[in-house]
Symmetry: C2
Subunit: 190 residues, 2 copies
């Protein structure tokens, strides 16, 4: 519930009194249960990121076809976002609101999560299945998936797994209709 | 400078006194020059979004090859983000901090901007150059580009236009190495 307030109003715009109402505690009681509002923020940020990392590192360790691994990673991320939309919104948007040493820990978690995508692309590239493992391709994939916190409706007509499959097919096969143009894969600058 | 503070600390975490220091005004003076802190937020949000819309609608109106239009749109967006990183960070992150009627106006601007991408994909699809104009393809493109506010370094080794070209080629031609697998473009679920 705290995640819902942080996601909806933003961390800094959310008052302690509102948080207390949201978690069903009396005035002043929240400070007895959690050390501070920022502890709540840290808990939300780290917990769901760790869940994404654990799921992703499991996939990286499995002996999977690189295309299949990409499909599964995409599905895990999209279904996490759909199942925990307020929490992941906080994760993707409020990193800078965490201060001090915990900010560093959080940035390290973000890096470990990104490394899952790096490893997934690299394995596919080394196996000759992907054309590149360029950092920009990683950033492109991260952006495609994470931006969904802004538009995804968990009760929308398309299942998160179907959205993931659409994204994976799009990034694998490309938007261009190859029947209408030469098949060359070189850079076509006009 | 206000944009830098909002981008760095977040809108709600930025105090009036800091804003006054940043814009070089004495205590209390900011309120004489701008009606409120939220006016500043609105100005930043709307101004750069309108710039993106104007540039995009110009491209949509031009008689261009759809692939070329996509390249140019991508370059405009990436170079805008690189040139106005704090402002676009505020644009992409602080929409919900704008309240009341202006929130509605801002959402309408975001929609007009998204419509530029929709029109770009649709024209390519109708011309037989793109395989789809699905909303999800639009969301994928928006995500790839906008997420860059989190990692783009305007003084980094790759020019924003080169990053744009990488993204456009990737989305057009796909990540899959087609030499190592069948050429069929059907859905390959494993």
């Amino acid at each position: 519930m705290a995640a819902g307030l942080f996601a909806d109003k933003g961390y800094h715009a959310t008052g302690i009194a509102e948080l207390e109402r949201a978690v069903g505690l009396g005035r002043g009681a929240l400070y007895h249960h959690i050390a501070s509002k920022e502890d709540l923020l840290w808990d939300i940020n780290s917990r769901y990121l760790i869940e994404l990392i654990d799921g992703g590192e499991e996939l990286v360790a499995m002996d999977l076809d690189p295309v299949e691994r990409l499909h599964r990673l995409s599905r895990r991320v999209m279904s996490s976002i759909a199942s925990h939309l307020p929490e992941l919104t906080v994760c993707f948007r409020e990193t800078r609101s965490v201060t001090g040493e915990r900010r560093q820990s959080l940035l390290a978690l973000h890096q470990r999560y990104e490394d899952v995508w790096v490893a997934t692309l690299l394995a596919g590239y080394e196996a000759g299945r992907f054309q590149t493992a360029d950092t920009l391709a990683v950033k492109a994939l991260l952006g495609m998936h994470h931006y969904s916190y802004l538009w995804l409706r968990p009760d929308g007509p398309r299942l998160p797994e179907d959205i993931a499959d659409f994204f994976t097919e799009l990034i694998l096969n490309g938007l261009a209709n190859r029947e209408s143009q030469p098949r060359g894969r070189g850079r076509r600058r006009q």
